[in-house]
């Protein structure tokens, strides 16, 4: 079963790359871009048929490795 995870920076945490992307977009005449936050996307193939179990495993993976909870939030989608 494939589980998808999105890891993003928490609100209020400086995202210099997002800022640079925003400024570049602004410079490309996408003047209405007000903010960009960059994150990570994971597709995890888990050998598990029960969706609930698979998601709970991935949740543990997020906490232990995929996200650093000091600055990042994660969402299993």
């Amino acid at each position: 079963m494939k589980i998808k995870v999105i890891v993003t920076l928490k609100n209020g945490v400086l995202d210099p790359q997002g800022k640079a992307i925003q400024q570049t977009l602004n410079g490309m005449n996408f003047g209405n871009v007000e903010d960009v936050r960059q994150g990570k996307f994971f597709e995890i193939e888990v050998k598990e048929k029960d969706e609930k179990k698979a998601k709970s495993l991935v949740d543990e993976m997020c906490k232990k490795l995929l996200a650093n909870l000091v600055i990042e939030d994660y969402k299993i989608v």
Binding site: V13, L14, P16, Q17, A20, L65, L66, V70, I71
Partner: protein, 227 residues
């Protein structure tokens, strides 16, 4: 004093550290990341570099490597653990040190000499150090130290801030902050001050003809405090 330097795939300051430690009289050994245990040591060093290619987050993969459990056990039993640059990043990822090293504020890789102010001398690294400001070298892309307000308060209240970026005269402000680190923080301790992580490289400042000698003071001081 016996020391061990852990080598991860992608470490690149391990041999510099070995040379520096031996120069001042440490009995140093190199330990591979896949080893199960660390030989008897008084100091463990996690060197600079790009362990595991900095994949996922700097230091995150190394913080789950085989050898790390021994490092954590050693630290929790009061042993001295020093993380330089990538080693500092690894220590935050293990949870031994608070916070995280983010990408530099201006997205640039910084390679230059800096001055750092020693903020606390009640510890085995800096006790009786003759200088308050050291000239050391930094080379990093992710040295922008960040932690929550609560954690920062704890660091300040417990004097766990070890070194901060400053000017030659010790001035700490935005102009003397190379990477955007919160409160100019260049290095911190754990609560018991046996674990020290810092971005600057003392091992690059041990030769008066090539670089400078403030790194020498640092290593000699650890040895003196051990005696």
């Amino acid at each position: 004093m016996r020391s061990s330097v852990i080598i991860f795939p992608g470490s690149n300051c391990d041999r510099d550290m070995d040379v520096a430690l031996k120069k001042f009289g440490f009995k140093n050994q190199m330990v591979w990341h896949n080893d199960q245990s660390i030989p008897k040591s008084d100091l463990i060093v996690l060197p600079g570099g790009f362990s595991y290619g900095d994949y996922l987050r700097c230091g995150s993969i190394a913080s789950k490597s085989k050898i790390i459990k021994s490092v954590i056990d050693f630290a929790n039993s009061g042993g001295l653990v020093l993380g330089i640059c990538n080693g500092f990043q690894i220590l935050t990822e293990t949870g031994l040190l608070k916070g995280i090293l983010q990408q530099n504020k201006f997205l640039n890789f910084i390679c230059s000499n800096v001055f750092v102010k020693v903020k606390d001398k009640q510890n085995k690294y800096f006790k009786d150090l003759k200088k308050d400001v050291l000239e050391l070298h930094i080379a990093h892309n992710e040295g922008n130290y960040f932690c929550s307000d609560d954690e920062l308060k704890l660091l300040q209240d417990n004097n766990q801030i070890a070194v901060t970026y400053c000017g030659e005269d010790g001035t700490e402000n935005e102009a003397t902050n190379p990477n955007g680190a919160i409160k100019n923080i260049a290095g911190i301790f754990n609560e018991n001050k046996n674990v020290l992580g810092m971005m600057p490289h003392p091992e690059r400042m041990i030769d008066k003809y090539l670089s400078g000698e403030d790194g020498s003071l640092f290593f000699k001081n650890i040895l003196d405090n051990f005696k």
